[in-house]
């Protein structure tokens, strides 16, 4: 049971952090350049270019980044929510005491 738990934690950590290595733009670019054929700039501009990740590694990196971004946003919103409640409460207390005066 304990082994299973350890394995799950390890798996989650690997999945979570491998994206940082994938996000290295140099690596993705190197792969992208290798895949490119020897076209002249003129020929290249004749085609319609579909924007997006250049290869599977870049796309995985980008999508994991988006997932991390949303996770960070939710955590920040949670913290901000607590801060809002706190400052509102402080303001209410001051507001009530001002009213009493």
């Amino acid at each position: 049971m304990r082994k299973k738990k350890k394995f799950i934690i390890l798996f989650v950590l690997v999945i979570s952090f491998h994206s940082f290595f994938l996000l290295k733009p140099d690596f993705a670019q190197q792969v992208g350049q290798k895949e490119k054929t020897e076209m002249t700039q003129e020929e290249e501009s004749q085609e319609k270019i579909i924007s997006g990740p250049q290869n599977i590694k870049e796309s995985t990196g980008i999508y994991v980044f988006v997932a991390w971004m949303w996770l960070a946003i939710f955590v920040l919103i949670y913290i901000l929510n607590l801060k809002i409640k706190e400052v509102d409460r402080l303001f209410e207390i001051r507001f009530i005491s001002e009213k009493k005066k």
Binding site: P25, G32, S45, Q46, I49, I62, Y63, V66, L80, D88
Partner: protein, 358 residues
């Protein structure tokens, strides 16, 4: 001297020279009214957020963009395929422009419907309408910069519209194009407008707009003002700013997600000699005007249809600009009719946009 002492010393040194503490005191004392229409207050800061993103991504793009006939399309292609993460930067720039203009429309329409432009905020409205025009000009000039078939044709159509204006029409078209037709000169001219002239105008009007908002304070909806009851207020700092941060975070997340999943593509380089491609279409925020021009008859009595349509649009824009002066008694019947016109305008713009997309 301890680090706290050094910090305090630096703070007082800075304050003595800049008067920053006065600004912070003002922000702490500034109050935001709380009512059921409060959510519209957040649209203003959302526009600022998208503008900031535009500036940052614009700086990054300008390092690689080449505003010449030969280099424009190729440099955008290079940004998208060779520059590390260039496609995301371009996508974020393009999408944040759309988001910004959408929020400018929502912001202005919410002010129109809640009558927030009433005395003494007429000038705030007018500076806001100027900001809308500048934002639309940003969109129009930016659309040509990738220099592909579609953007060239759309610019040809767009710059041809002023030609219908009597007396000055031809001159305006020539001024926009830098000549008789859309050429490399137009591209250079649009790039100049996009990165140097329009930002100056935008910053100037933004400064005036923000100053006027701070001077007049936040507007209270007409309904609440009529009741004449004491309204709940929140301090701007930190209560309102924290709430704004939540909105900024969500909007930034949405913008990046949309930019990643729906990046704009790039057509082949525009050919000045080639015939116009099918399905010429401007950016979505011009579609309702584009459709209106399209369906207008060629002749109405003895008047040229295009001229009449352009004059109608011009009159509409003038009326929109002077709206606070026209709607000078918002609580009376005239004010109510103007509110109905606002709703009709929304229905009209949405319907025309959908029609144009079909």
């Amino acid at each position: 001297m301890s680090s706290t002492g050094r910090y305090k010393g630096f703070q007082s040194w800075l304050d003595e020279r800049s008067g920053l503490s006065e600004i912070f005191r003002f922000l702490r004392e500034k109050k935001i009214p709380q009512h059921r229409h409060s959510m519209w207050y957040y649209t203003g800061s959302a526009i600022l957020l998208f503008f900031a993103i535009q500036v940052i991504t614009g700086f990054l793009l300008v390092f690689y963009y080449n505003p010449t006939l030969e280099g424009a399309n190729a440099s955008v292609a290079r940004i998208m395929t060779e520059v590390p993460l260039g496609w995301i930067i371009r996508s974020v720039h393009s999408w944040s422009a759309s988001f910004m203009i959408a929020f400018v429309f929502v912001h202005l329409l919410s002010i129109w419907i809640t009558k927030a432009y009433r005395k003494p905020r007429e000038m705030t409205w007018m500076s806001g309408v100027f900001l809308l025009f500048v934002s639309l000009a940003f969109g129009f000039t930016g659309y040509l910069l990738p220099w592909d078939d579609l953007s060239l044709s759309a610019t040809k159509v767009g710059t041809d519209i002023p030609r219908s204006i009597p007396v000055i029409g031809v001159w305006v078209t020539k001024l926009l194009r830098g000549g008789e037709d859309v050429t490399g000169d137009t591209l250079t001219r649009f790039f100049g407008f996009h990165v140097s002239i329009l930002p100056v105008f935008l910053l100037a009007f933004l400064a005036i707009h923000v100053y006027l908002i701070q001077k007049q304070g936040m507007s209270i909806p007409l309904v609440a003002e009529k009741k004449d009851e004491k309204m709940k207020e929140l301090p701007f700092w930190p209560n309102f700013v924290y709430r704004e941060m939540v909105v900024w975070l969500v909007l930034t997340g949405i913008l990046f997600s949309v930019a990643v999943f729906f990046p704009p593509s790039l057509d082949k380089a525009a050919d000045l000699m080639a015939p116009a491609p099918e399905g010429i279409r401007p950016e979505w925020y011009f579609l309702f005007l584009f459709q209106m021009l399209k369906i207008f008859p060629a002749k109405i009595l003895f008047v040229n249809g295009d001229t009449l349509a352009v004059l109608l649009i011009f009159l509409g824009v003038v009326a929109f600009f002077f709206l606070p002066l026209i709607d000078n008694k918002p609580e009376e019947k005239k004010g109510k009719i103007i509110t109905i016109i606002a709703y009709l305008f929304i229905v009209y713009a949405v319907a025309m946009t959908i029609w144009s997309l079909l």
